[in-house]
Amino acid sequence: MEQKKHWSSFGELNNSEAYNKEVKDEFNEELPFVEDESVLAKSGSFLQAKAPRRDFLKYLGFSTAAAAAAASCEMPIKKAIPFANKPEDIVPGIADYYATTYVQDGDVVSVLAKVRDGRPIKLEGNDLSAITNGGTSARVQAAVLDLYDTARLRFPLIAGKEASFEAIDKAIAAELGGNVVLVSSSITSPSTKNIIAQFLSKHPGSKHVTYDAVSHSAMLLANEAAYGKRIMPSYHFDKAKAIVSLSADFLGTWLSPVEFAKQYAVGKKIDEKNISMSKHIHFETVASMTGSNADEKYLCRPSEMGAIALGLLNAVKGGTVTEINNISDATLKAGIMAAAKALTAHKGAALVVAGSNDVNVQILVNAINDAVGANGNTIDFGTTLNYRQGIDSDFATLVEDMNGGKVNTVLFVGANPVYAWPNADKVKAGLAKVKTTISFNEKLDETTSLCKYVIPAPHFLESWGDAEPATGHFSFIQPTIAPLFKTRAFQDSLLKWSGDVNDYTTYLKNFWSIKLGGVTAWDKTLQAGLINPTPSAAVGASLNGAAVASASSAVAAKNPSSKNNNDKNKIELALYQKVGIGAGQGAANPWLQELPDPVTRATWDNYIIVSPAMARTLLNIDLNNAGQADAYEVQPPKKVVKVTVGKTSIELPVLIIPGTHPSTIGIAVGYGRTETLGKAVIGTGKNAYPFASFNGQTISFDQADVQLTLTDQTYPVALIQTHFRYDTAQGNRTEVVKELSLASFLAHPTEIREERAHELKGQIMDGDKMTNEEVLANFEKQGTMYPVYERPGIKWGMNVDLNTCNGCGACVVACNAENNVSVVGKPEVLRGHEMHWLRIDKYFSGDMDNPNVVFQPLMCQHCDNAPCENVCPVAATNHSSEGLNQMTYNRCIGTRYCANNCPFKVRRFNWADYTGADSFPDNQKGEVNDVVLNMNDDLSRMVLNPDVTVRSRGVIEKCSFCVQRLQAAKLEAKKASRPMVDADVKVACQQACPTHAISFGNANDKHSAITMVRAENPNRNFTVLEQLHVLPNVTYLAKVRNDNAKAEGHKEEGHKEEGHTETKKAEATH
């Protein structure tokens, strides 16, 4: 069929030449280059060219591109190489979790190691553990960094020179013999104990000495004397309604703090429908973390501890105040009576613990526990604790033996007596007389560096092993990474030297396969990482009255009042351990060094703690004088005092810490380590162990007569918080933190709601005409002139229970590890440059000599009406649809306006290149060395979490609510095609918390824990600075203190009146 031709013009119809040209040229604007050269040549100007604008743009584009290409800097190329042969069980970008166990010098915590692409990067508590229930401590959280410590030993040494394992084995085979002594810190591993026994049996006359730097010998010996068994029973703080602690820091450093913190929190958690709380009375020499959490706290001298124990024993047996004649201080007397009253009121649910290393004191404590029915209830002799097994006198004997030349060979595992033994010189002299000295250690510590043979030990994350922290509780160690260096487990060495053909891995496997009934069972157990025993009823023990009687008379003979009056003027010293550094184990870990001490909030140093009263006389600083207090607070250099005990003296800076006995000073042990332990120890503090003394039976960490001399020097102490009171001359800042006594809470449960309503009333139009409940309900909408938005979908929220938070700092280190938070070093902390996303603020209230303490973890509050967001000129910080206040690092230009405008001051600026993330390589080298020395080498950087951006210099950062975990949780739920639930996500701080003080989840979900905790605690719930209408997504539950005795003194209006008088006092001083 012929096609019809349609035409639209005659030109088209006729196919004329003119038409064709027009069609051809219609959209064909010639580029000027070809044709217009002639034009250009003629006119000589671009302006006459046909399309000068296009040319101009072309030239501009080309020249800009050329200039950019020519000027662009050479960027370092970093190659990411995929697996040539991908291991079956590794998916790049997906983390694997292995159940393993944190073990260090007797401390045991079951953990899961998060392994990303073959590198362990984070430790999380193992929820299955009956002991810790998923809780961790700051030191557990920080332990992963020790794996990547640059100061670790990389090869075996003979007399300080590199050697091979073969050479060492050969030399030792020749030398080993005669009297062999193995000195270890407490070993909880059953298989290791077997191996040691096997090894020692080959060498008759040899022995195993357990040496703990800060030992619990007195408890073990006291239990032997009082109950006939040298064991440590397990404690049940959760079952105790009345807890009396004679200066035992059981939440921080005493025996098994993670376990006890978990138990303690049970009694501190408040159910608003049925309010009850345990009561904790603390006798304290130097302000401690546990004392800060106590409901009632009484200050005493270390030397009075025996008298207090004796007085308490008399009182619980029905004695009266007059019978406590050893104590002259009336407050202390009242305290003992109050403690006795609380204990006897809760017979069978009472518990007394003591931190003293004096056997007699511990025997008396046993007697008190017996009298108040603790044995078999809150104390269980059926399950014994193995955390501390060292007996000081054993080691003292060994030192004598070594000096007497009676020891041929000594092996050190974990023990470091050259550093921690009070008379270290004698240990050194003894070591010099021992023919063969062998040390198994990860690092060249003080003792190891004096040993002839040094066999590098693997980190626990590279090892196999097992642990039995308490009877029937087994926890297993499996490697999560191939050994980084030439290391060999000390069990391997012992097996080899005993002639066993098995290596430790095989030995362990056989050992447990036999016990568990097969390899399959062993593999299965390894997956869980632990074995919990079947729960059994607590077992009591019968007390040996004779031991108590002799202890009583021994203590009575030593009681202070029986000596002359001069003793009262003497200054006493109490050595203590810090939560992070411990007996010295944490000293080389920059995370722990930079973790502010919960009590002093100081980092990177030890110092002398004195009371405000002593500060007045010793330092001439009166904290009640506003000017002097300011001068003390705002200037980091603190006065240096020389402490002398006998012939030993050291000079340390002084911090004034309320809550310390007026004539007692405190110094932390664990500092002043040798520089071979790593960069983190350099210049941090001084060794206080020489102040300890061996009394023939145990080591005493107290000194009864100390000389203090004020020097004219100062020394800067890097404090993260300088001011600790929330009352000012202009009023009590109760919007910041809320606390009240149990008595007033019971009498007036809605007090905090009313207080909040009162604060908010003025912010609402016609607020005065509203009822309190209306004010609270309408504040969000009516407290602003701007529209309030609906927030459907997910709305992330967090709640922190100030009652169960004990300030231990596990969350702080967990946050550091999870979010790649930089370590900045002491010089930078001194300048207020620390980077912590989460901090635990500490506030004092009440009497400045013996104040109440509140810990308040503070992270980004993720305000719905965030003041930081609207001031950023480039919108680098903004709000997500899920209620997160987000930080976009690569958009941030670093004006710091957001940080200024944050009322909570949680935003942190990268003042320098702390992690080697700068676009200028090695930027800080030679410049601010101290800043970068800790964390920016390739090995340390292996700990970084690949899911979290490493921030570069010049940007602001802050808590993200672990957004990487939130995204993963949502993805998890999405993959499973179900709504997200609480169990999908746990943020790092929440995960680490031993007391589960932090709740987190979707606040729009009616069934989530966060919704529940807010709904169930309407009377304690508050947000910080609520009146600012920034609408934080972090809520807090007010601190309730079971201090009835104090509250009674102040009648109903206890804390209000107290605050009022404080204000007046402060005003008067201004």
């Binding site: 000017g627 300088t722 440059h833 603020d841 001051k905 003042w911």
Partner: protein, 479 residues
């Protein structure tokens, strides 16, 4: 020779027996002669300071803001203090040139050129601080709202810092145009008197082909009026917006509605003080006492005592409100952190009070207003006081705000923070020395404009007018 229509209040604006030629000769002398030894010494000092400043900034950019002593609590310190201080100084020039032009204040002619130059240099100095206080200055262009491929991702129009960007850049542009348009006739004069080819060429380019035709003058006058009209609101807006950096925040001590008027008054106060400092030197060095007369100094001192008192009232109002509001956070900031002399920064508050509020009261005395030495000394004192004011506002508000846990340790600057500040002095004076050497420091054409009406030497000529009957005078002079 007292005449009937001579003002009893206004003194002559130009002293001495001058004619147009003499005016040209007097003012252009520095441009057409070799610089003095003093100029070389001054200039090299300024360049040295500038170099030190450049090195300080180099360190800050290369190693990070950690080179400064700012911290987690005090995010801004000397940087923004100096920024606000310089911006404040930059206010007098435009006020003199624009507002006084609109109000037909003839006396502005003697001082406007130098004051405008000062404005421009001060704003240039001010601009360094918000740029280099950024942690990632190489990303500073993010603050410009330009079409981009990031979404497109725009700037945050809610942020006062962004308003700053617009306010300062607008102010700088308009001030520069105003200044330059005024310079055109004078450049033409220099060109016409040029004695080398190069001079002729360069000043010729700068003069934009000015011929002095009536058309040119007419357009020039219109342009001046238009720019004056544009600048006048800017005088008020720039420091108002700078004050929003603080006033829109939630920090006690910043969150204050009084800030805009109080900042503007303070800016004029410090600007006039800086004009005084500079002109007292210029008139001495270049022997221009006949043009920048003691009458000028007197008038500017009156502005100083007025604005100083306004600022004083603002301080007292803040204190009153700190108490009256019964807001404990405000109360603490105003009554403890600031007004309590023995608090850590109490000295800075009382330094500010002494310099800004108490000492300018000396200018109620006419004798003191007309004393060059007193004026020079006071102008320095005022600028120190105004620096303290910004320091007080920024640092004493930040260092102890809401949470006592975050209260800061004592902040004192590092050498590099000081170096940056000193460097901007270097920049300022380098520019000013170059300006004084190559540009007419007094508007030649404008002086000629007022010469016959307000010049002292033309008083005798007025006597013929004096002799006229009133009707004729009115007829001649009424428009």
């Amino acid at each position: 020779m007292h005449i009937k229509y001579e003002s009893q209040l206004r003194e002559p604006l130009v002293y001495g027996n001058k004619d147009y030629h003499q005016v040209t000769e007097d003012i252009l002398r520095p441009i057409e002669t070799k610089p003095t030894r003093l100029w070389y010494i001054g200039f090299s000092i300024a360049v040295t300071l500038l170099m030190f400043g450049a090195y300080s900034v180099y360190r800050e950019v290369t190693y990070g803001i950690g080179q400064w002593n700012l911290n987690k609590t005090i995010g801004w310190g000397w940087d923004i203090t100096n920024f606000v201080w310089w911006v404040g100084i930059g206010h007098a020039g435009t006020l003199i040139s624009a507002v006084l032009l609109l109000f037909r204040q003839g006396w502005r002619t003697g001082v406007n050129r130098a004051a405008e130059a000062m404005t421009i240099f001060a704003v240039m100095c001010a601009g360094q601080f918000p740029i280099f206080h950024m942690g990632r200055v190489w990303m500073a262009f993010f603050v410009m709202p330009y079409p981009n491929s990031r979404g497109p991702l725009w700037v945050n129009f809610n942020s006062p810092l962004l308003w700053d960007v617009f306010a300062i850049s607008t102010y700088f542009t308009v001030s520069l145009l105003f200044w330059y348009s005024g310079l055109i006739p004078d450049f033409a004069t220099v060109r016409d008197r040029a004695f080398t080819k190069l001079r002729k060429k360069l000043y010729g380019i700068a003069a934009f082909g000015w011929t002095g035709s009536t058309k040119h003058w007419q357009r020039h006058e219109s342009l001046s009026l238009v720019l004056a009209g544009l600048s006048t609101p800017l005088v008020l807006s720039v420091h108002t917006i700078v004050s929003f950096d603080f006033a829109t925040s939630v920090i006690p001590g910043w969150h204050t509605t009084i800030f805009p008027p109080y900042f503007v008054a303070g800016a004029i106060f410090s600007g006039f003080a800086m004009v005084q400092s500079l002109l007292i030197i210029v008139r001495k060095v270049f022997a221009l006492e006949d043009y920048i007369t003691i009458g000028h100094i007197d008038l500017m001192n009156k502005v100083i005592v007025l604005t100083g008192s306004i600022v004083g009232i603002a301080y007292l109002t803040e204190l009153f409100m700190g108490w009256y509001s019964q807001n404990k956070y405000e109360g603490y900031t105003f009554w403890y952190s600031r007004a309590y002399l023995f608090s850590p920064y109490g000295w800075s508050y009382w330094g500010m009070m002494a310099c800004n509020v108490l000492s300018p009261q000396i200018f109620w005395s006419r004798k003191m207003r007309r004393n060059v030495f007193v004026t020079f000394f006071m102008s320095i004192i005022v600028n120190i006081g105004m620096w303290f004011e910004r320091f007080v506002i920024i640092v004493t508000s930040l260092y102890r705000d809401y949470l006592p846990s975050s209260w800061s340790v004592y902040y004192s600057p590092t050498i590099w923070e000081i170096g940056f500040y000193v460097g901007t002095f270097g920049l300022f004076f380098t520019c000013f020395f170059l300006f004084a050497k190559y540009f007419p420091v007094i508007a030649v054409a404008e002086i000629k404009y007022v010469l016959k009406r307000s010049g002292e030497s033309f008083k005798p000529g007025m006597e013929s007018i004096e002799a006229q009957p009133l009707d004729k005078f009115v007829h001649d002079n009424a428009h």
